[in-house]
């Protein structure tokens, strides 16, 4: 499928006051197709939220993008110079549904004033009545009563605020919505409601595609078409959801799946082991593969050389051990005809 948005070799660092640099995202490339939901999964500190800020063009100091490009519809812009990003990309091409969306409304503004603010920021000449009318339609589509427009955030329930924020971040019909842990503060029932809402927006083509960032693999596996697995700032595996969930290749993906507890008989009375050790300090990431200190299959090569992303078993995976397992079957890829 033709990608609608491509993120090319992004490096992003946090510059600390003492001069140290945290390499939060290190050489990540991704693309997303029209109508697709791409899941990004990883544990705290793996760089997934940093990637969300970079792609949604909301990176602020001390976060700096040191390398990387964003390509939309064949138009490529450097992420290192945000002033060269066309203004209408913000909100119209790419929009962010932030983490903790319930707390991102301005408590002193009624929802309708907030809506007008957002729309005016993109179209100075828009009539106030038209702006409010547009919001009213959208709220109705999401089964919110019109009174919401006249309410202050504290007059709304948590679930309603969540939907209002979803309306606000999609009111310009963005082509790509970056949803950064949109459900992590919710209980399972509200989680499901929000996911259904996003799916509805996508199926009505109000939004073009979704990059869904989460630490919750079971949740993602029911939402995403493809899943990218991140570890310590790097992409370690990227494949279709069935590939990642049913036949993971990277040892980290395998460990992550093994540590998943779902309420099914299979986990009862069996001891499941977590992943030993901790993720590395990204001020001084380990040489070679960043997962090698915690990896049960680590080879000598893993301690020295960084594994490249290779296409193995139909998905991309960065692991020397997996590559060695498949070496006996030489890949025809990349060979000239």
């Amino acid at each position: 499928m033709q990608p609608i948005l491509t993120v090319d070799r992004v490096h992003a660092v946090y510059r600390l006051p003492n001069g140290a640099e945290v390499h939060a995202v290190d050489g990540v490339s991704l693309s997303i197709a029209e109508g697709e939901i791409l899941g990004i999964v990883g544990e705290s500190g793996c760089g997934k939220s940093t990637l969300a800020s970079v792609i949604s063009l909301t990176a602020r100091p001390p976060l700096y993008v040191s390398e990387g490009r964003l390509i939309f519809n064949g138009h490529s812009v450097p992420l290192t110079a945000l002033d060269r990003v066309p203004n209408d990309w913000r909100g119209r091409v790419i929009a962010l549904l932030p983490q903790g969306a319930m707390n991102s409304l301005n408590p002193t503004l009624r929802v309708r004033d907030f809506v007008v603010d957002v729309l005016r920021a993109h179209d100075h000449s828009i009539d106030r009545r038209i702006a409010i009318e547009r919001a009213r339609e959208r709220l109705e589509q999401l089964s919110l009563p019109p009174r919401v427009l006249d309410s202050y955030p504290h007059q709304l329930s948590g679930g309603m605020k969540q939907r209002v924020v979803a309306v606000l971040s999609t009111i310009l019909n963005p082509r790509v919505l970056i949803a950064d842990e949109p459900t992590s503060a919710l209980d399972v029932s509200s989680q499901r409601a929000l996911v259904n809402l996003l799916l509805e927006l996508l199926e009505r083509q109000i939004i073009g595609s979704i990059m869904f960032i989460s630490h919750d693999l079971p949740l993602l596996s029911n939402v995403a078409d493809r899943i990218a697995v991140m570890y310590a700032g790097e992409l370690v595996e990227l494949g279709t959801t069935p590939q990642i969930v049913r036949a993971p290749q990277h040892p980290y993906t395998r460990a992550l799946l093994q540590a998943t507890l779902v309420p099914e008989r299979t986990i009862r009375g069996r001891r499941i082991e977590g992943i030993p050790g901790q993720p590395p300090d990204l001020r001084q990431p380990p040489p070679g593969c960043r997962f090698h200190p915690r990896c049960p299959y680590a080879l000598e090569q893993c301690r020295r050389e960084r594994p490249p992303l290779e296409t193995i078993e139909g998905r991309q995976v960065a692991c020397w051990w997996v590559a060695r397992q498949h070496r006996t079957v030489p890949s025809m890829e990349g060979l000239a005809p």
Binding site: R192, L217, N222, D225, T260, V262, G274
Partner: protein, 280 residues
């Protein structure tokens, strides 16, 4: 069944007054046997944490009683009379970042915790007890003893709380969402430590969670709360294989299992809004 450790009878707690009264916990009764793990599940605002605080005696109940083996009725005990109870109960809270005194090192925190005992170990004996407890939860004493709380990760902090539980050898551990701020890989490690605590020391655990997967992994019995009331209660396998109450059924249906991607386009009524009960 073995000896009963904890007996909760008709426990009720109301907040507010007049028209604004909220009954956070309503007529909750259950027993917990020695060495048993009881999971309390429910969504946010269902009264799980209030229940934990009531049993810990951090909050006085409006009505009902709490009985503890060997101590009798502890519902109304005050001040120093609570000391014997607190010697036998330990809490592990949800937010490992809010639990510690920021001005105490790990060593001082553990040494002070021992002060609740009548005859705390001293000198070498104390040193060894602390080291053994830390090692049991996978922390290296020489690494962590001199550290301040802000130098520890969330997982290390939760393990430190379990180390304290090991050190003080309580009969009851009340774990209120102990893993909800931890990553999946660490979550299992912490649950395994709780399972070990029960197996090796016959500790009873009241495990409060919103995650049925974790409850199913760890607990023997399940208590489902909805809006302050117990709606279902029984052996965990029975409840999960044949949930009786509609709320339990919905809760179970909403838990995401490992799937194979996005559902195909379905009929519009799938989007009918589901009623999500209001929070607290």
């Amino acid at each position: 069944m073995t000896e009963t450790l904890l007996e909760v009878e008709g426990l009720t707690r109301r907040f507010g007054s007049g028209r604004n009264v909220v009954t956070a916990v309503k007529d909750v009764s259950f027993t917990l046997a020695r060495g048993e793990i009881l999971a309390v599940v429910g969504e946010s605002g269902s009264g799980k944490s209030t229940l934990a605080r009531l049993i810990l005696r951090l909050l006085p109940p409006t009505a009902g009683s709490i009985r503890f083996a060997g101590l009798g009725d502890i519902t109304r005990l005050q001040g120093h009379k609570l000391r014997p109870f607190w010697q036998h109960v330990q809490a592990i809270f949800q937010d490992p970042f809010a639990t510690f005194n920021q001005f105490f090192t790990v060593r001082r925190f553990l040494e002070r915790s021992l002060g609740i005992l009548d005859n705390p170990p001293e000198g070498r004996e104390r040193e060894e007890a602390i080291s053994a407890a830390l090692r049991a939860v996978g922390l290296e004493p020489s690494d962590v003893l001199m550290k301040w709380p802000h130098q520890l990760s969330g997982g290390q902090r939760q393990r430190l709380m379990i180390a304290r539980a090991l050190l003080l050898r309580p009969k009851l551990v009340i774990a209120d969402e102990p893993t909800s701020m931890l990553d999946a890989s660490l979550r299992v490690t912490v649950l395994n430590l709780l399972a070990d605590l029960r197996r090796e020391h016959e500790v009873s655990i009241l495990f409060i969670t919103h995650d049925l997967g974790q409850a199913f992994y760890l607990a023997d019995r399940l208590l489902v709360m909805y809006r302050g009331e117990v709606v279902e209660h029984g052996p965990i396998e029975a409840v999960l294989s044949a949930p009786q109450h509609p709320y339990t059924q919905r809760l179970l249906a909403d838990v995401p299992r490992l799937g194979s991607g996005r559902p195909k386009m379905t009929s519009p009524d799938r989007w009918a809004p589901r009623r999500v009960p209001a929070g607290e």
